[in-house]
């Protein structure tokens, strides 16, 4: 096989994808060494290291090429991610990684697009973008490293901080009701919603693979401990710390929205795995459909001739 990388035909056929010249050689998958860039600036012991390690593993296992990977993030400790990956990437502004990534996804369906970010980035400043990217079902995988705190700005309350959490902005303990990320994602219309944790690396990799294979907006909430500002936050989900890690029961129907809400309602640590997964046309496909219909009418006309036809009506 001259092209060992699997490209779904739907992606390859899209008009907007520019032609990629090939060098005509057989290519092997990348090794961890080839895909690692800067040494991460995270604190030793930070949960985010695991996510990075498994991202490398995913790239290796799924034989993704450098040039086809695009890693995008907003701002936060977790959002430093793209610098540590040797591939095309962008470190955008706080909370807006999703619309930025949407611009990439919609205009360049030939790329594998992964977005990483924190809980503040996703659910506070970027909250509305999560809703709209979900409802539009724009093709990309989004991994939220939820540490229940603002790490980069050094311990302020985050939208997922539990009630009573003592932070620099809530010295008496957090008083605002935290949001429920899973419920919010499902109700917003995300078509793949999963929950995992950095302390179970096999599960994390499984979730990443499934998210990558999902044709639509796939989101993973991944508990990732901030050892600096919220030590022990997720111990209850870590068997090594005396907690329990329970999978979503096999009987759970991932297309059943009500059942998914029920799972999301369980008190921490709850269950881990795919809560909700449905197939709904992506914005990418719907827009492509509009394009195909319009192009059919245009026929073999060159772009300037199409524009000329419009001008002729303006005389």
């Amino acid at each position: 096989m001259s092209n060992p990388i699997t490209e779904t035909p739907a992606r390859a056929s899209i008009l907007a994808a520019p032609a990629v010249p090939t060098l005509g050689e057989e290519r092997k998958g990348l090794t961890k060494k080839e895909v690692a860039a800067d040494h991460p600036t995270w604190c030793p012991g930070c949960g985010d290291f695991s996510v990075l390690a498994l991202y490398f593993k995913l790239i290796e296992k799924r034989k993704l090429w450098h040039e086809k990977i695009t890693t995008v993030a907003g701002i936060g400790c977790s959002s430093r991610f793209p610098y540590f990956v040797q591939a095309h990437g962008a470190h955008y502004i706080h909370g807006r990684a999703l619309p930025f990534a949407s611009g990439i996804s919609l205009s360049r369906p030939d790329l594998h697009l992964f977005v990483f970010g924190g809980d503040g980035d996703a659910f506070s400043i970027g909250g509305n973008h999560v809703n709209h990217t979900a409802r539009k079902n724009i093709k990309m995988s989004y991994l939220i490293m939820d540490n229940w705190v603002y790490g980069l700005t050094k311990k302020q309350t985050s939208p997922t901080s539990p009630l009573g959490f003592k932070s620099k902005t809530d010295i008496w303990g957090a008083v605002d009701q935290p949001i429920n990320p899973m419920k919010q994602l499902i109700s917003a219309g995300a078509t793949f919603v999963a929950r995992t944790t950095t302390t179970n690396v096999n599960h994390l990799l499984q979730m990443m693979e499934q998210a990558m294979d999902h044709d639509g907006f796939s989101v993973i909430e991944c508990f990732s401990e901030c050892v600096e500002f919220y030590e022990g936050a997720f111990d209850a989900s870590n068997p090594r710390k005396g907690g329990k890690f329970e999978l979503v029961p096999e009987t759970h129907d991932v297309t059943d929205e009500m059942a998914a809400y029920k799972l999301a309602d369980e008190p921490f640590p709850g269950k881990f795995g795919v809560f909700y997964k449905v197939n709904r046309p992506t914005k990418n496909a719907l827009e492509q459909n509009i394009i195909c219909k319009a192009r059919e009418k245009v026929g073999a006309k060159k772009d300037w001739e199409t524009l000329q036809a419009t001008f002729n009506r303006l005389k």
């Binding site: 793209p82 610098y83 919609l106 005389k315």
Partner: protein
């Protein structure tokens, strides 16, 4: 109305026919009367008759109802503005009559709907009054349940008679306009038109005939500034855009949403302006030159992301169709008060390109220029227009589309190595390598808003921050050397120089023409490239005693408007002064001249 010759002076009976070179017609009514449609027909007809045309309209802020006007100036020679005073007022209601009489030239003509308007005898000595039962005659002509819907087309018939307009051409326009609709709509429209056309005979004591216009090389096209800008972006090769609705920008996004799929592109309606600019930047990062746009309030929201695009050096087009500000301001009025946010809006040192089209035709060509600048210099370009240019219709020579249309798809050919922020290039820019491109060195770039090294990795080095700041600045200095400096309109030396930007070009030029005809020493300079400024403007200013910067914004704390302030800080020339206003209306020629005269004690004639 400039009268050339008067033939057939009649003493009653048949109306006399006067030859004219131009006419200003103001139609006043309510927004649901289809006044814009009459204006549109007249403008399009003028375009097809090789005449120059310019329109001006006000739209009420309310959704339906509310007073609305459309003014159209048609000329066989050059038409630079929509005209200070109307030759003919067509008033549908008492409020239209009373509210707009003052816009009519003394001795001008008022045609009113006698079904709704009671003329004021006091005005009858200053203006020629013609009362016609427009509403009832329309109902009579169309019949049925149409009520007086169609009185706009009836009125078009009246005007066609009055100005001896080409009837077959108008019939063709009516057909084109209503094709695809119910057969009876075309029939009713034609019936209304002919009723108006034949009714007027005997009721008008004067009719007019335009002298022949100069033959043009290419056919003319007729459109407004928003259309010209949107279509210019398509010609430039833009295939991706994202936006959020706001008047008067929405027309552009609607046009692009509708048209781009034909070219394999798309325009996305986003949840807000921040998402819109982010999506456009994302597409830009991925290899497109993408567009976003808004009006003042939305531009404010975009500024953080704009700073990222400047820092990360990603091409981007941002359209700002200005309206009255601050805040929600005067959303359906014109103002030029976003120049500061366009040039300086954002945190940190964030040099960007700002260009301002001067008329409708310029919107088309500057859109292409903007795209080419963005792509070459990897920089956001703000195209700043305003409500007046966005909505006014002009006829201009059809562009040679085969020549101007361009393909700007990204090149994904593998490269040996790539430094996205290469410091060794002489002018601070190099072609971008975008995702999907293989880099044989195995070192991949990160686009970033953090200060960075040449590969895009974060750095806290003061040295690098200074070098990168210089790089981002140097690109624009290189661009400045490329910009063709504007030419002075009128002699390049004299007493007064009027400086303008954007939609005021027409009235300023007309002011120069009028002043010079009266023997005054006035020239003008129109600045279309605002950031960076073209080279050599100081030499232009040196040729004049007084420099007035004419702009539709407030005189500010120190007595000059926003461009005025910029020019003063750039040239430290105390003779640069402001000539500003914020009444939400376009400049009248007379206003400009009176204000200039009023400011100079010695008068504007050369000493």
């Amino acid at each position: 109305m400039s009268e050339a010759t008067i033939s057939n002076p009649s003493s009653g009976g048949a109306p006399k026919i006067s030859k004219i070179s131009e006419a200003v017609i103001r139609i006043a009514g309510n927004s649901q009367d289809g006044i814009q449609a009459i204006g549109g027909f007249l403008a399009r007809l003028a375009g097809r008759s090789e005449q120059e045309v310019m329109t001006f309209m006000t739209i009420p802020a309310t959704i339906s109802g509310g007073a609305s006007i459309f003014q159209v100036r048609i000329g066989s020679g050059e038409v630079l503005s929509a005209g200070d005073e109307a030759d003919v007022l067509l008033a549908f209601y008492q409020h239209s009559y009373e509210g707009h009489l003052s816009s009519v030239k003394k001795g001008g003509m008022v045609v009113y709907d006698s079904d709704h308007v009671t003329p004021n005898p006091e005005f009858e000595k200053d203006y020629r009054h013609i009362g016609l039962p427009i509403s009832s005659r329309t109902v009579e002509a169309i019949g049925g349940t149409a009520k007086d819907k169609g009185k706009n087309i009836f009125t078009l018939g009246l005007l066609a008679k009055m100005f001896d307009l080409n009837v077959p051409k108008i019939e063709k326009l009516i057909h084109e306009r209503f094709t695809g609709k119910d057969e009876s709509i075309v029939k009713n429209a034609l019936a209304a038109f002919h009723a108006g056309y034949s009714f007027s005979v005997g009721h008008l004591y004067e009719t007019f005939q335009f002298i022949d216009a100069k033959q043009k090389d290419r056919p003319q096209i007729v459109m407004n500034g928003n259309e010209a800008l949107g279509l210019g972006l398509i010609a430039a090769g833009v295939r991706f855009g994202a936006g959020y609705p706001i008047t008067p920008w929405s027309d552009i996004m609607e046009l692009l949403r509708r048209e781009l799929p034909k070219y394999g592109g798309m325009f996305i309606q986003c949840e807000d302006e921040i998402a819109s600019i982010s999506m456009a930047i994302g597409a830009g990062y991925a290899g497109k030159v993408a567009v976003t746009g808004s009006s003042g309030p939305g531009i404010s929201l975009k500024t953080e992301a704009l700073g990222w695009a400047i820092m990360a050096e990603v091409p981007l087009i941002v359209v700002d169709v200005q309206r009255g500000g601050p805040s929600t301001g005067m959303p359906t009025n014109v103002e030029q008060s976003d120049l500061n946010i366009a040039c300086y809006g954002g945190h940190g040192d964030s040099p960007r390109v700002v260009i301002a089209p001067a008329n409708v035709e310029d919107c088309f060509y500057m859109a292409i220029e903007a795209v080419n600048i963005a792509k070459k210099y990897n920089v956001p370009v703000i195209i700043i227009t305003d409500q007046a240019i966005a909505t006014r219709i002009e006829a201009f020579e059809e562009p040679n589309l085969e020549k101007v249309c361009q393909d700007i798809s990204p090149d994904l050919t593998p490269v040996a190595d790539y430094k996205p922020y290469d410091l060794s290039t002489p002018d601070g820019y190099n072609p971008r390598v975008v995702p999907g491109t293989r880099i044989m060195s195995g070192k991949y770039p990160i686009a970033t808003g953090l200060e960075h090294d040449e590969y895009g990795h974060p750095t806290g080095s003061p040295q690098l921050h200074m070098k990168m700041n210089a790089k981002r600045r140097k690109k624009l200095q290189a661009l400045a050397n490329e910009i063709v400096p504007p030419k002075v309109y009128g002699p390049s030396e004299g007493n007064v120089l009027l400086v303008g930007w954007g939609s005021t070009e027409g009235p300023i030029r007309e002011a120069v023409d009028r002043a010079r005809a009266a023997g005054d020493s006035v020239s003008s300079l129109h600045i279309r490239h605002i950031s960076p400024l073209p080279n050599g403007l100081e030499e232009v200013f040196a040729g004049f005693n007084h420099v007035f910067v004419v702009e539709m914004n407030d005189e500010g704390l120190y007595g000059y408007g926003q461009l005025g302030g910029l020019l003063r800080s750039r040239y430290c020339d105390p003779k640069i002064r402001g000539l500003t206003k914020t009444d939400g209306l376009t400049f009248k020629v007379k206003e400009i001249l009176d204000r200039a005269k009023g400011t100079i004690a010695t008068g504007i004639r050369k000493l």
